[in-house]
């Protein structure tokens, strides 16, 4: 049996799959569901300073090319999650707390408060493509701001910090370098693409309650793989390759592009909450077929001359 275990900045994972932020992850129990489904680590839904209601439904739609979501960062706010995630250490796998803010100040507050909860690492999201006031729509995707926020967050917590980037920026590798310069321990690449819109032709209305939504799943995968490939050549810190992974082959592609671990979100829809176990088993089978013994033999493999 090939060895699938990963040490991601000190997080000991039984396999490289990570529940991506915003899929399940709103409560301790929903994280536990993904762990029971085989996830090597899990990420919470992004937490903001104030409670947020999010957009009207549909908040998620699926179509032939993938998934669109405009959840709108609904969450009870950092002060109300203390309870929820107090005993998070016993879910059975490392837990990454995802944080989303409007500016540097928000992130400092979030990091400080979240650092007191049971999270094994913090992920800061500078990349939501469809929520006004957040991520790319708040101009958080410049190298300067990325470095500044990363630095503030690092100063406010002793936990490893992952910076989550958007695929929708031209200066992707600049942002990754800025995060690294700011002290980030890893890069999560990527958040959703687009945004996109689907219109119901009978009612002539955009279907998503928030009208536009981030694109994930199949549509996103080649973009995410390209981003991971580019970031791998730009920085030394590990990458959590995220976007459209739903099989062991897709996971292998991410690892070969340069990822150390693999985020999975949308595939929960197609393959169930145990998609993590399925992906890990498929990955193990194809490593065995190729005669590979450890997943370290795959990382960055597509870069060799």
């Amino acid at each position: 049996m090939p060895d699938l275990s990963v040490d991601l900045c000190g997080l000991k994972m039984a396999n490289p799959t990570i529940l991506a932020s915003g899929i399940l992850g709103i409560s301790r129990a929903s994280l536990a569901l993904a762990v029971r489904g085989g996830a090597g680590a899990v990420t919470t839904k992004s937490i903001s300073v104030e409670p947020r209601k999010g957009h009207p439904a549909p908040i998620i739609i699926t179509y032939s090319g993938g998934m669109l979501n405009s959840v709108g960062y609904s969450n009870p706010g950092i002060d109300n999650v203390a309870d929820e995630f107090a005993d998070v250490r016993d879910v059975g796998a490392p837990v990454i707390g995802s944080l989303t803010g409007r500016d540097e100040e928000d992130y400092a507050i979030l990091a400080e408060k979240a650092g007191r909860l049971g999270f094994d690492a913090l992920e800061i999201v500078l990349s939501c493509p469809h929520t006004p006031g957040y991520g790319t729509m708040a101009g958080l995707s410049t190298p300067e701001i990325t470095e500044r926020i990363t630095r503030r967050v690092k100063a406010a917590t002793s936990r490893p910090v992952f910076v989550k980037l958007s695929p929708n920026v031209m200066a992707l590798t600049e942002l990754a370098k800025a995060a690294e310069a700011g002290g980030a321990n890893a890069i999560t690449a990527v958040n959703t693409a687009g945004p996109g819109m689907i219109i119901d032709i009978k009612s002539r209305r955009p279907i998503l309650g928030g009208r536009i939504g981030g694109l994930s799943g199949d549509a996103l995968r080649p973009i995410a793989v390209r981003c991971v490939f580019e970031i791998y050549e730009a920085v030394k810190i590990p990458i959590i390759g995220t976007g459209g992974v739903s099989t062991g082959e897709h996971a292998a592609e991410m690892l070969l592009a340069g990822a150390t671990a693999v985020g999975i979100g949308t595939a929960v829809h197609d393959r169930g909450a145990d998609v993590f176990r399925k992906v890990a088993e498929e990955l193990s089978a194809l490593m065995e077929a190729e005669g590979l013994r450890s997943i370290h033999e795959m990382r960055g493999g597509a870069h060799e001359a």
Binding site: A29, S30, P58, I60, D200, R205, I207, H269, G272
Partner: protein, 264 residues
């Protein structure tokens, strides 16, 4: 990938079921198992989970109680208006045994009607218990009669049928008859009562739960219950009485759209 977009159609019929409760029938072909729900979409406004209460090969229908801004707009729709839905979603009920009791409180009766129809078609012995606060809010009196469905009605204020709660009616029936399975859908405290009564009496029960739902198909996590994390929209909405009683928050609290807890 597996995928679907909402189906939108013009409402073929609106039925005034009771005070503040209406059904809308859409001319859409779809497969339904009793106990399933759909995300009913008012284009440009919002989509919410609603049980499927009518079904023929050519139509599908929903019964909505006006309790807030969205449901009031649904109840104000007229024939010819556009309405969409995503689904059907969820596991639905499973018919088990020969003698069954079906208990619905408020609009909860909606999810049970298709089950009752199927039970009748399968020749089961069925008793339907429908409860409401008061006579004007009682659902499906006509429909039950038309179906020839043996029904007991209960109102809190005694304005029609038995005075009192549906759970009291259930307790009485279980004393008088031997019953194989009890099906319940209604206010959560009533459901908990039903599950407990059945557990005590050693009778199987199936309970349809409600939790805040945003996607309806297992992705957003809004409907995950403590502590198992089971998704009410996928692993439910129907749980066996024992499963339901193992859900820590059952009859205790639920979460709203921002995942904040509210206690019953």
């Amino acid at each position: 990938m597996k995928h679907e977009l909402p189906v939108t159609a013009r409402i073929a019929r609106v039925i005034l079921e009771a005070e503040g409760i209406r059904s809308v029938i859409l001319p859409v072909r779809t497969e339904v198992r009793p106990g399933q729900f759909a995300m009913l979409w008012l284009p440009g406004v919002d989509a919410k989970p609603v049980g499927i209460s009518y079904h023929t090969p050519e139509t599908v229908g929903f019964t909505v109680s006006a309790v807030g801004p969205w449901s009031e707009r649904i109840c104000a729709l007229r024939e010819g208006d556009l309405l969409g839905f995503l689904g059907p979603y969820g596991n639905g009920f499973t018919l088990r045994g020969r003698r069954i009791i079906v208990i619905g409180g408020g609009y909860g009766a909606a999810s049970l009607l298709l089950l009752a129809e199927e039970a009748l078609r399968s020749g089961l012995e069925i008793t339907m218990v429908i409860g409401a606060r008061t006579e004007r809010r009682l659902l499906y009196r006509r429909r039950a009669a038309d179906l020839g469905l043996p029904a007991v009605f209960a109102t809190d204020d005694g304005s029609f049928g038995v005075a009192g709660r549906t759970s009291d009616v259930l307790e009485r029936i279980l004393v008088e008859q031997s019953v194989d399975t009890v099906y319940a859908c209604g206010p959560e405290m009533m459901e908990k009562k039903v599950a407990e009564i059945c557990a005590a009496a050693g009778v199987a029960s199936q309970i349809s739960l409600e939790r805040h739902m945003k996607c309806g198909f297992g992705v957003c996590g809004a409907c995950c219950v403590d502590r198992s994390g089971a998704r009410v929209c996928v692993e439910g909405p129907v749980f066996s009485g024992e499963e339901a009683l193992r859900i820590e928050e059952f009859g205790c609290y639920h979460r709203d759209g921002s995942a904040a807890k509210h206690f019953f």
